[in-house]
């Protein structure tokens, strides 16, 4: 009897899931090891993180505030991955969404019930417009959307910074580098958790339904797994690609709207807080499944909330970013390894 390593064409779902769980655990273990080497007790820190997050309603409310933007950016990246497009510009679209919403709130007079929908529409539209050029370049000239979407993040961050410290600077002179407080706020549903969270959860469910039961969702999935045969089968692959990428941008933009109108209340530089980049990990861990995004965004929110506790230990939120990268690296490796299985070969051959 001999053993042979065999590579399967696609990884069985349970193995892919196990690989993801393992990658998270392994990344946590490596981070703990590095902290221990730096003289920080990781067990003690983990206990602090968990009690600070789940030990009080304040902790849970904070968690809710982090959960919502991660859902939006995670969904944005996941939707793109459905058709094989890497939107790593969610960070930028998030900023532009916040910018557009703040613009409406600050400069358009009107009652709240009219302004809020207008802000949401403007933010979604802004996010979609921000990804328009990379989308058209990918669809018509086959230019990889990876670099174009990413570079626009820097432009968006600079634009928000410029607007918040320049032309839209708080005229009262009390705030240093932000706009005035927005006159319109997203109402709260629980404690300080605003409507952004239920809206995001609802969107995840709606997207899950769209991708699993509609013809459009099916065609998008086909176009993503094999564009050539999808085209041969008569599916409008290019049109789907454009629609999906614009939807992805709009989702990230919506995240920005909720952040500026619900959580922060004014437009300031760095409002995106790396949510766009963390969304990549959220989407990858969820294997681009909208309902999976709920689980992975929650996990990411716990880790991110832990980052706030870590700051008391001299670590920064950047430590969380590094840990996210580790999870992603292990997930990439685990994904590939999940394709293999050991096969027993009976007798000689």
């Amino acid at each position: 009897m001999r053993l042979k390593l065999q590579r399967l064409h696609s990884a069985p779902p349970w193995k892919a899931f196990a690989a993801r769980v393992l990658s998270v655990l392994l990344a946590l273990a490596v981070t703990a090891l590095m902290m221990a080497m730096a003289g920080i007790d990781p067990i003690d820190l983990a206990a602090q993180v968990l009690s600070a997050t789940f030990g009080s309603s304040f902790g849970l409310e904070d968690l809710g505030l982090l959960f919502s933007p991660l859902l939006f950016t995670g969904l944005a990246v996941a939707v793109g991955l459905r058709i094989g497009a890497w939107n790593i510009g969610a960070e930028g679209q998030f900023n532009i969404g916040a910018l557009c919403a703040a613009g409406i709130a600050l400069f358009v007079p009107g009652p709240d019930w009219a302004l809020l929908p207008a802000m949401i529409a403007a933010g979604a539209l802004g996010g979609a417009l921000w990804i328009l050029v990379p989308t058209l370049a990918r669809a018509y000239a086959d230019v990889s959307e990876l670099i174009t979407t990413l570079l626009l993040n820097f432009v968006a961050l600079l634009l928000v910074y410029y607007v918040a410290t320049g032309p839209w600077l708080d005229p009262s002179g009390r705030a240093l580098a932000t706009t005035a407080r927005l006159p319109v706020r997203l109402p709260e549903v629980w404690g300080i958790v605003h409507w952004g969270l239920p809206i995001a959860l609802g969107l995840a469910v709606v997207l899950a339904v769209i991708f699993s039961v509609t013809r459009w969702g099916y065609e998008v999935r086909m176009a993503g797994s094999n564009a050539g045969s999808a085209r041969y089968a008569g599916m409008p692959v290019r049109r789907h690609l454009i629609a999906v990428m614009l939807l992805s941008g709009a989702l990230a933009g919506l995240g920005g709207v909720m952040e500026v109108a619900g959580t922060v209340g004014r437009l300031q530089g760095g409002i995106s807080n790396n949510y766009g980049y963390l969304g990549i990990m959220v989407a990858v861990l969820a294997r681009a499944a909208p309902l999976g995004v709920i689980a992975s965004a929650f996990l990411m929110a716990v880790i991110l909330n832990g980052g706030i506790v870590m700051q008391t230990q001299g670590l920064t939120t950047n430590t969380v970013l590094a840990m996210t990268g580790l999870i992603l690296l292990f997930a990439a490796i685990g994904d590939e390894l999940a394709h293999y299985r050991l096969r027993r070969l009976e007798g000689r051959n």
Partner: protein, 311 residues
Amino acid sequence: MDIIAGLIQTAFLAGGVLALAALGEVLAERVGVVNLGVEGLMALGAVTGIAVVVATTTPWLGFLAALAVGLAVGMVFAFATVIIRANQVLSGLALTLIGTGMAATVGKAYSGTPAPAIFRPLDIPILSDLPFFGRAFFQHNILVYVIFLIVPLFLHWLMFRTRHGLNMRAVGENPAAADAAGLNVMAYRFWYTAIGAAMAAGSGAYLTLAFVPSWSEGVVAGRGWIAVALVIFAGFRPINAAGAALLFGFVTALGFVGQARNWPIAAPILSMLPYLGTIALIILPVIAWQRMRRMMAAPAALSTPYFRDTR
């Protein structure tokens, strides 16, 4: 005239960062591996450089240490992408997050401290006294000559004039054929990916030891991504990559002049120029010159892992 000479001088200084990283990426991509971790590698190199120079006050040691860190991290990346054959895009993004996050965590202690010793400009005897040309071309720190002259010419010779270079390109174009011809595809891919990563980290050290020269969070500011984009624009050729980096150095230098001379454009808007310029540079040529596409095309097996048994 003095302004133009100064512009060219700054263009070389600023372009050096992009050139070294882009040349490293050319190596990795020519053997078929896309490394999207350049941004993170540069951050790691930048913080390594400053940390070592604060301890030793010797810029060379800082630069060499950054190369070593880059090589080590690059070997981890190559292990994941070449040996395990994990998804290159995902692994590269992971490397960017790890590098950026770790560099910022480690670098907190060095934030804002200027480098105690830097690569200073060397005046080349006689030539540096020439009017105009002296200032533009012959008053640079030594790394500028290495990055713009020695490395691109050497890589061009290696890749297009030697048997070894032909093998390299074969591995990137058609690994199955290269394998059948007896080449060790994995070894080529592993080592050139690792060396490319070392060069990316080296460019980070150049940033903090010759160009800025200090560490602060976000000092890399997307230069790693611009370098990756330049490789596409340069058609995966070393001399073109150095030239493209110089062009970008020129755009950056123009922004500096604009700020120094109080052009009526806000500084953040001027800072957008390199990013917008990069996007234009990778989109416009594809649309404008359809015919050049084949000549400037990416290696055929780029970002495709090689499985021997499925050839």
